[in-house]
């Protein structure tokens, strides 16, 4: 059924720290690896070693430059995957019921055996989180590694999404954003976690932590600075003579 549930028991999702992300793309590789070898149709590549390679990815890392009115520009690495929205527009447009949002944990999934590959859900998603697999002809999206997080065959430490497990910078966090007492909710509250494109009305579950303000230079005292002041105000010798002669012209 592609109507959205009125309420989900949990709101599982990711918190992505834009301050800490170093843009290494390890999450992209881990995601591609896990989701190619496990649940659902593999994430195919077209011409991977050819002149025009492309492929299906559920997670991509962009990089943006932010230029404030004053001061230096800042580079922000920006991982982007499905935000598992509360008002997911991709779910309600699905004509077959293949797209659905789970009542128990709020994960947005695609039942691939029902997907006709019409692509309308990807049109409805403002974030570019859904990609049609060119080999399988079905829509692929982040499953929040639903086949890891409840998987009792894995050691407990591995029961998180592959992207979170692999992130070497600790920039990705996984948890229940519906529970105000969860670690991720506290992190979002402490760091001012934000929604992407709030004006689209999708109510994303995933939150982004903005980069911290850069330290200023005002308070810094450098004891060596006075020694680096110019020692001569007036030029002397040949340079001084040249300077005086050129002034006369």
């Amino acid at each position: 059924m592609t109507s959205l549930p009125a309420k989900t028991e949990k709101k599982l999702g990711l918190v992505i720290d834009l301050d800490t992300c170093v843009g290494c793309h390890a999450c992209v590789v881990a995601c591609k690896g896990w989701n190619t070898e496990n649940y659902g149709a593999p994430l195919s590549d077209q011409e991977p070693y050819g002149a025009d390679p492309s492929g299906t990815f559920l997670n991509r890392v962009h990089s943006y430059e932010v230029q404030p009115e004053a001061g230096a520009a800042q580079l922000v690495h920006f991982p982007k995957s499905c935000l598992h929205c509360e008002d997911a527009p991709c779910v309600t447009v699905c004509p077959t019921g293949a797209s659905y949002k789970r009542v128990e944990d709020g994960i947005v999934l695609v039942n691939e055996s029902d997907c006709i590959g019409c692509g309308l859900c990807a049109w409805a998603c403002p974030y570019g989180a859904r990609e049609m697999d060119a080999a399988e002809g079905v829509m692929k999206k982040c499953t929040l590694c639903v086949d890891r997080i409840y998987n009792e065959n894995l050691p407990e430490v591995d029961r998180t999404p592959a992207c979170v497990r692999t992130c070497p910078a600790g920039a990705r966090h996984f948890g229940d954003l519906g529970d105000a007492e969860s670690d991720v909710s506290k992190l979002v509250a402490a760091r001012g976690g934000m929604d992407l494109m709030p004006e689209q009305g999708t109510k994303p579950v995933n939150k982004y932590l903005p980069p911290r303000e850069k330290d200023g230079m005002e308070e810094m005292v450098d004891v060596l600075a006075p020694y680096l002041q110019p020692v001569a105000d007036e030029a002397k010798g040949f340079i001084g003579w040249l300077d005086r002669v050129l002034e006369k012209f």
Binding site: F57, T96, M197
Partner: protein
């Protein structure tokens, strides 16, 4: 948006076909026998041909039956249900007209409502998308319906109605273009809101996630040059509305009517190509494409 030929053919031909069926259902013209057969055959060829074309862009057309199930929430599903209901209802009405020389008013009326309902659902598939501000307006269904009813009037030979409906459709098309050109800026979605970084300064896409292209770029980042867009809009206006209008004002001849229909179809197809080619999806922002 990528202008997929299958979807352009579908919306153009089906729109015209359902427009004609709607006129026939209302009893304009109240034909019977072989003449009715010819009219219904044209209507069905256009409507069904368009529907078949639309399945070509599916990844799994063999599962298309599943698309009738989610009419409670999905405009695409509603379109499927409405189209089949319209075709069945009009088949019944058509059979009455062709074989028994009868016009069953209620069935015809229902068929007409369902035919136009199908066109409305098609338009709502686009008009519902907040991700494409150019499409998200009730002007979209108004335009689709006006084109369908005007084209249907032309095919049905309801020239007096066509003389009123062609200028109306043309005016709606121009209004839709004018509104659409400012829609993206007006939507308030920028790279700043897309990244949440807009409050800190000017945001610029520095590096794309991959060196190659991908599904999102192929599907959503299509952009048409402004120069060509203006040319195509003029062509669409001229072929779609001005020329057919001039032809139907002249004394009736079958050749002129045929030219008017072909010209109208070509014009609507051009405007439908632009409908997709000019539509800017907000995801393009993430790739610095807007």
């Amino acid at each position: 948006m990528h202008p997929a030929p299958s979807v352009i053919l579908f919306t153009t031909f089906s729109g015209l076909g359902f427009g004609l069926l709607a006129w026939l259902g209302l009893g304009f013209p109240a034909v019977t026998g072989w003449v009715a057969f010819a009219f219904f055959a044209i209507g069905y060829a256009l409507a069904v041909g368009g529907l078949l074309a639309s399945t070509f862009h599916l990844g799994h057309p063999e599962r298309a039956m599943k698309a009738f199930s989610q009419w409670r929430s999905s405009w695409l599903s509603r379109e499927g249900v409405a189209s089949v209901a319209a075709l069945l209802m009009m088949a019944l009405y058509g059979a009455g007209a062709v074989f028994w020389g009868e016009h069953w008013r209620l069935i015809g009326l229902l068929g007409a409502v369902l035919s136009l309902g199908t066109v409305f659902c098609t338009a709502m598939i686009y008009a519902q998308l907040a991700t494409v501000p150019r499409w998200q307006t009730m002007l979209t269904p108004a335009l689709f319906l006006a084109i369908s009813v005007a084209g249907g009037a032309l095919l049905a030979g309801e020239i007096k109605a066509a003389m009123l409906l062609f200028p109306l459709a043309a005016a709606l098309q121009v209004a839709w273009w004018i509104r659409g050109d400012g829609a993206f800026a007006k939507s308030g979605t920028t790279l700043g809101t897309a990244t949440g970084l807009g409050g800190r300064g000017a945001v610029r896409a520095f590096e794309p996630p991959h060196t190659g292209t991908n599904y999102l770029l192929r599907e959503f980042a299509f952009q048409v040059g402004r120069k060509h867009a203006t040319k195509l809009r003029s062509m669409a206006m001229l072929l779609g509305y001005v020329l057919p209008f001039c032809l139907i004002v002249m004394p009736f001849a079958h050749v002129l009517a045929a030219v008017a229909v072909v010209s109208h179809l070509a014009g609507v197809a051009a405007s439908r190509w632009l409908f997709f080619a000019e539509a800017e999806h907000v995801v393009g922002l993430y790739y610095g494409k807007r």
